[in-house]
């Protein structure tokens, strides 16, 4: 079974999905990420789906679940690189990915995480 590698960069975990994942692969990724967040104490998770051609309700649910789990473990999840056709299809399908933050590409995803981190510190200081 294909396993998606989880990369660590500073306190951010980066996952780039490059293959058409089977359902078990999707579930395995979900578990691997939760383990990695705890093991590394990462404050951010970026899931890059630039190469993903379709997101159905199963993968959509996985993204939302990862976001919820990470938030519980005090990490923010950002999904980056969603293709226009995929976004249009998800809207038509009726899937909102509730609570998942998104960015256009990896670079903007990292910038957003840094921005969110800054905002958190500012709130605590006040």
């Amino acid at each position: 079974m294909d396993r998606v590698p989880v990369l660590k960069l500073g306190d951010i975990l980066i996952v780039s999905i490059q293959v058409d994942l089977q359902d078990q692969g999707v579930l395995a990724l979900q578990e691997d990420l939760a383990d990695a967040v705890v093991a590394t104490g990462a404050r951010g998770v970026i899931i890059d789906i630039t190469a993903v051609e379709i997101v159905d309700s199963f993968i959509g649910r996985m993204l939302a679940t990862i976001a919820s789990i990470s938030r519980m473990l005090d990490a923010e999840t950002i999904v980056v690189g969603m293709r226009p056709a995929v976004a249009i299809t998800l809207v038509e399908l009726g899937l909102s990915l509730g609570g998942v933050r998104t960015a256009l590409n990896l670079e903007k995803g990292v910038a957003l995480l840094n921005h969110l981190g800054g905002a958190q510190i500012a709130t605590t200081a006040r």
Binding site: D20, L21, Q22, D23, Q24, E53, I54, V55, D56, S57, F58, G60, R61, R83, P84, A85, V86, I88, T89, E92, L93, G94, L95
Partner: protein, 133 residues
């Protein structure tokens, strides 16, 4: 190569195979990128439904013609328990499994023609068609 044909859905890996075959057929029909994505997503949902609710099934991939328009028709068949209340099954968020309840209702919004035939104990047949614009 003709993309028409029949595939059986017996396991998780078959869902991926269905997606690939439907994508190839959609390209052959000349669907736009967005329409390709929509029909492949619908196929993924319906194949998973057949697997989850009926333990497996079959899909017929067919290129169809209506006047000058070309289209892609997918017929999903299973011998599962069938659906007692079709209208209810097509409601957003209604599910007997552990999914989001978007499989049937969502797929319907992704295609141009949608036909669902089912009765308790007689399996389910879902036929969807997407026409090239």
């Amino acid at each position: 190569m003709t993309a028409s044909g029949e595939l059986s859905i017996g396991g998780n890996s078959d869902i991926v195979l269905v997606r690939q075959r439907v994508r190839a057929a959609a390209v052959e029909v000349g669907l736009s990128l967005v329409d390709q994505t929509k029909i492949v997503t619908a196929a993924s949902e319906l194949a998973r439904n057949a697997l989850v609710y009926a333990g497996g099934g079959r899909v017929r991939i067919e290129i169809v013609r209506n006047g000058v328009k070309m289209g892609l028709r997918l017929a999903f068949d299973d011998d599962g328990p069938g659906i007692p209340d079709v209208d209810q099954a097509l409601t957003d968020g209604w599910t007997t499994g552990n999914g989001l309840g978007l499989g049937l209702s969502g797929s319907r919004r992704l295609v141009d023609d949608f036909d669902l035939r089912s009765a308790p104990g007689e399996g389910t047949r879902v036929t969807v068609t997407k026409w090239a614009r």
